[in-house]
């Protein structure tokens, strides 16, 4: 099991009812962790519509999930 610090914004923050949490997971990738947390929190956004950041930079959904990483799930951007 690894320890991941997860942060949420906007729609995902509201659906998770929290801005951040620490999770213990066996997920190998951000995609697997998203599916795991989507089941727990009832996310309506498909994984293909969201993006993920690892340690403050955008990352691939199939990147390896390392112990202690800071992960952020990002809904589609809408600035401006």
């Amino acid at each position: 099991m690894k320890h991941v610090h997860v942060q949420y914004f906007a729609l995902l923050r509201e659906q998770a009812r929290r801005a951040e949490e620490s999770v213990e997971t066996a997920a190998a990738t951000p995609a697997a962790l998203y599916q795991e947390l989507a089941g727990r929190h009832g996310f309506t956004l498909p994984v293909g519509r969201a993006r993920v950041a690892l340690d403050g930079e955008l990352a691939a959904w199939d990147a390896p999930l390392r112990d202690g990483v800071r992960l952020v799930f990002l809904p589609p951007f809408a600035g401006g």
């Binding site: 956004l45 293909g48 993006r51 589609p76 809408a78």
Partner: protein
């Protein structure tokens, strides 16, 4: 200079930082909260940002604009928090010797900001409903709405032109 701020944007102060006697052209874009989107009456907008990445990505966009266009300087500021109708949500300023480069860089910056910088907005409607606007997901993906369950059903925009300003 790319800035995310929760305090009101001051266009006069922002432009003063950019005045330059070499600049024959100074182009700005001011994105403001408008009263209607997709046929719905908007009362307020709520913006939030993933500040750590937004500021890095915003600086990259500005650096690209300086590389691609012959500009003297380029800057952008984006507000977060709750904004009322008419409030300034985003400001872009570009100075250049000549206008064409300044216009081009200004357009590049606002377009890339909307596409790449992790900022979100929630529209609050006169009906009492509210919805997170879905602008862009993966790079180059067309705008689409996110359906968020709400009691009046005012959601699920099929927005080609996402809400908010500009």
């Amino acid at each position: 200079m790319f800035r995310i701020t929760s305090t009101p944007l001051d266009p006069d102060a922002l432009r003063r930082e950019m005045l330059d006697l070499r600049a024959g052209g100074f182009v700005t874009f001011e994105g403001r909260v408008r009263s209607r989107n997709e046929g719905l009456e908007v009362r307020a907008l709520e913006y939030e940002a993933f500040r750590e990445l937004a500021e890095k990505e915003g600086e990259r966009v500005l650096a690209e604009a300086r590389d691609k266009f012959a500009v003297l300087s380029a800057a952008c500021a984006h507000r977060v928090g709750t904004l009322q109708l008419g409030d300034l949500a985003v400001w872009v300023g570009v100075t250049a010797e000549h206008r064409a480069e300044a216009f081009g860089a200004c357009q590049y910056i606002i377009d890339e900001l909307k596409r790449r910088v992790p900022i979100w907005k929630k529209e609050h409607y006169a009906t009492g409903a509210s919805v997170w606007v879905a602008g862009r997901g993966e790079a180059g993906e067309p705008a689409r709405g996110i359906k968020e369950k709400d009691k009046t059903g005012a959601g699920g925009q099929s927005a080609r032109n996402p809400g908010g300003c500009g």
